[in-house]
């Protein structure tokens, strides 16, 4: 398991985003807007979805900036 944890080292943002999304899109948190239903639920789902995308966009921009030259070279190769 230590090896697995190494995999996530340096990736807290991605992991956090994933876990946060998972919880936000799952019971019991989802039951809150779901109880209301209708436009609330739809708005919750789509807005949350767009927020996740915004978060992803921000994350990706950061990661792109963090790429070392070597990694860039590797990527290009």
């Amino acid at each position: 398991m230590e090896k697995i944890s190494n995999t996530w080292k340096g990736k807290p943002a991605a992991l956090f985003l994933f876990l946060a999304c998972f919880f936000l899109f799952s019971w019991p948190l989802l039951s809150i807007p779901s109880e209301s239903g209708g436009i609330v639920l739809i708005s919750y789902l789509f807005l949350l979805w767009l927020l996740v995308i915004l978060g992803l966009c921000h994350y990706c921009r950061n990661e792109a900036g963090n790429l070392t030259e070597i990694q860039r070279d590797e990527d290009h190769s």
Binding site: L30, G38, I42, Y59, D75
Partner: protein, 1234 residues
Amino acid sequence: MNPFIIFLVVIIYIGFLFYIAYTAEKETGIAGKFARSPIVYSLSLAVYCTSWTFYGSVGKAASSGLSFLAVYIGPTLMICLWWILLRRMVLIKDKYRITSIADFISARYGKSQVLAGVVTLIALVGNMPYIALQMKAIKSSFSLITTTSGASSSTWIIDHFGPFIVIIMTFFTILFGARKLDPTERHRGMIAAVAMESVVKLFAFLACGIYVTYFLAGGFSEIFSPTFLNHPGAATVIKLGDGNNAYVTWTTLIILGMSAIMFLPRQFHVAVIENSSPRNILPAMWQFPLYMVMINIFVVPIALFGINAGIPVQQADTYVLSIPISHGNMWMALLVFIGGFAAATGMIMIAAMTMSTMVVNHLCLPLFNILQPLAGMRRHLLRWHWIGIIAILSGGYWTETKLGESYALVNMGLISFAAVLQFAPAAIGALLWQKGSKAGALAGLITGFALWFYTLLLPAFAKSGWFDSSFLDKGPWGISILRPEHLFGMNTLPALSHAVFWSLLFNLGLFVLISCLFRQSEEEHRIAQDFHSLSEKAQAPTRSLSEDKSISIADKHVALLEVLNEYFPPEKSMEILNQSLARRSLLGQKNISIIDFSEYHRSIENILAGSIGSAMAHRALNRDVVFPRKEKLLLSKAYADILSRLNVSPQELSEKINFYREREELLMTHSKELEKRIVEKEQEIEARTQAERALQEAELQYRSIFDNALEGIFQTSADGRLLTVNPAMATILGYDSPETLMREVPDIRVHMQTNPGRRDTFFRRLLTGKQVNNFEIQVTHANGKILWISLNARPILDDQGKLTKIEGIAEDISKRKEAEDKLKRYHEELEETVRLRTAEVLENQTFLQELLEGIQAAVIVVQQESIAVMDCNSITEQLLGYDKKALMAAEGSFEKDSVLFADLGEKSLNKEFVVECRDGGTIPVLRNVLPVIYKGVPAYAIILFDISERKALELQVNMAQKLQSIGQLAAGIAHEINTPIQYIGSNLSFLSESFGQLLEVHKGYSELMDRAKAGDDISQAIEEVSRQVETLDLEFLQEEIPHAVTESLSGVDQVASIVKAMKQFAHPEQDNLTTVDINSALQQTAAISKNEWKYVAELQMDLDNINPVIDGYPGPLNQVFLNMMINAAHAIQEKVGDSGRKGHMSVRTTSDDSSVIISIADTGCGIPADKIQKIFDPFFTTKAVGKGTGQGLSIAYTIITEKHKGTIEVESEVGRGTTFTIRLPLHLQITEKK
């Protein structure tokens, strides 16, 4: 809408896709730029949104509420981890040249073929119905949009639309997805087309959504107003799901979506295999979720509108299409149809390409390896890929036609997702868990797949009514805990969640359990480590202490300069600092990390140690002002951080350092060996380069020969398809270039269809492995003309002796054939001519033979070279007395030196010879010699005319002419004789009278003497005598008698000479060859002819003193001279007439060593110039009739030129005279004597 229009639009759309794919592959034009854009990667990922999304989302929303969003939110959650997981997969793909999800899982677990086969099988079973589902969507939407138009007449198009699409997609997939063998190679064209399809389907769906929401419903506010939401069916749409299981289903769909976006074979392909750079993942991580949001944003409004519009919920899958149709907006319907078509075809093509690769690589190839008889199939991998694509697409279509509206197919989307979920434990374990083993993965996969089949697929089949569904309620064999949808008595979960739960539980559980129980093989362990190291490599580095640039160089410079200035001048100190910064590549930086500062510090310390010693330098530079304690601690932490990141303890680090030192030594040794090898390799490379260069030159030469050859060179496949042709071949067949030829008429058989039988013979001979040489056949030129070509071809066989290719050379022989035809016709004409000529020749020959036999001349043919007698006619035998055989054998006296064969060098006519016959006699002949070709041999035709009779006649003529001449002379001669005779007679009378008188006197004297003696008186007698003497006039007599005697004698002599001349002139012996005194002959002739000229001319004889004598015939020569003199006398007489004047004749002889020249000239009337050429012709005369016969000069010419081999020339001038000059050789040749 009219099916034709739909069909046409589909064709145009497919053409557009072909254009996009083609230009993307060529990297040209806008499509080329589009293909290179990073957004293509994001859009290609949208292949996830199939027709199931396009049509099914609305249906799902209408029937099950908002749970459909989980299928797209799940992937979004998974995408959060893409930079960790997907990036690693891409790196692994690049390193291991992964071709598919099966290949990926197999590669991690010891490259197990069994594992790959199982994954492929699961994917195949799970995906085939899904492909069928897409085809169903295409067919249904086409049917919907066309049937509403009521155009029943176009049912043929509707019925055949499905197969047509299958064929087109097959072609497209093979062309842009499987044209080459390397499946790891990216398919730019295919991906660009799929990306474009994503744009089309999104555009279509958004257009439809805006149309429905804003144009039909009045906007979002209206859609979500009570007007719409109060509809009974609308309540379902705006809820998460039904009842208590809503969250369970939601979570299940989230999980399935997460799994599907990673492990669906097509998704794995576009996300991993087609990934050109891991960097593309980052923008795709937000672009693709945004795409999913956009394509779903109008799902609920459309569903609500459809329900409110009264369209049954059972038809909710078609809302997207049926709403525009029901509102008469056919163009919107058409756009939606194309959008749905794009959604379906994109998925179908990628899925077919991916599945084909998996099936061929992991099912077919192992099978070929196991079954030896099929081993040869491995050489045809590319074809197997094509077959795979055809089989998958055909299978999908077949499945659609068979399953149709069944429950299994309708729900196949989620069933497929659940199947793919089985890959998740093994695949994620491959990335994250080093201990995961092949056995564990295999056990988990098989068990999970079996449970998926049992709990999900089998119930779906049962619900489709394909077999008894009672086991669903009672369980197999009545065992209730084995009920597929309530396994082990679990009744709380809905079917899908139930299946996902049990299959995933057993899959994951067994994967972990078995992996823990069974150790990995060495290979597995190594690959696992490699996968993991790639994982670490894939980690983006976080900023650490070692990278934290917190040390200000400016501050440190101040401190360091202060120290260094204690030992060096300021300039030197500054130089040391800059030198050290440059050495560490830190020039220009304001802040550096603690590690960089440490090394920079150490560099300066080393320089300072060189001047003040290491101990002093260390002490000086480790002052707190230079390297404070805080920074030393920071340095320690940085090193510790590095150690911790290396995940080793100091002991381990020490061991590792030792290990790496040993390894370094080994590597050094190895590197030296490698250097040596490199040198060898370089030499080898050099040699190969040279060989390659030579090969290139040879190739260039052959290419030049190939391009510039006058003969056509071609290579075809076994079935005649042109593979290569040279320009000459294209020219022969009438095309501008080889490319044009191969593009327009790629099959050589088409060119040879003029004569199918001969064409088949050509190919049949090659199929038997035989070469074909100089095979002449007619071919069709591009302009339609028929050409003749000559083919030399050889078959190229594979190892099994099967014909694979044909190589050959073609030569345009049309002109030759034309020439041959002409020649043939000419030959036939010639034969006909020859036949006619032969007949003519035979006729002529017969005629000639008859002529030869009939002609009264001997004809002898002799060879030119050997003078051998080749042939003769019967007259020859008669003439010469030899029979033909004797002549041809040259027997007897008839020899080659015969006079007949003298002077045969050239054509000669009318030469006279005297030949000796067999009996010893001689015959005068006239010989004509003609050079001829006789029986192909150069020969002479000698024609002998017997001129015995002519000669006799000539003799008679000559004699007659001679007699005529003599006759002419007779009167003159008589006159000449008469004159002396007369005066001889007178003289004799005088003498007789005188003699009587003298006798009287003598008598008187005798009587006187007697009287005297007698004594008689003599006086009387004396007187008598005296009177007698006085009477006698003795003095007169004494004077005249001698004169008379002399004159008489002279006259006698004159007569005698005339007689003698006549005698000599006419004597027969004179015709024999003898010596001739020319002067004498001329004098005699002058004497004979004196009477002719003496009255008209004075003759001057100017004869050569040498008195020339020649070999000749005196008689004929005298005749010639006589003719000349008489002619001269006549000419003068004609001129002088009776004037009494006399002309002048001169006869002159001279001689030299070889000949005598006789000139007879007169001053007569002369010969006119126009007649001078004819004077030697027989019977030509200028004299009055009766005076000349015209034979004289003719005979003279013959006598001089032929008989004496001399020449005769004439000069004449009218009124002034004529001169004949005769030149006679002194000696005649002995042969002439014969």
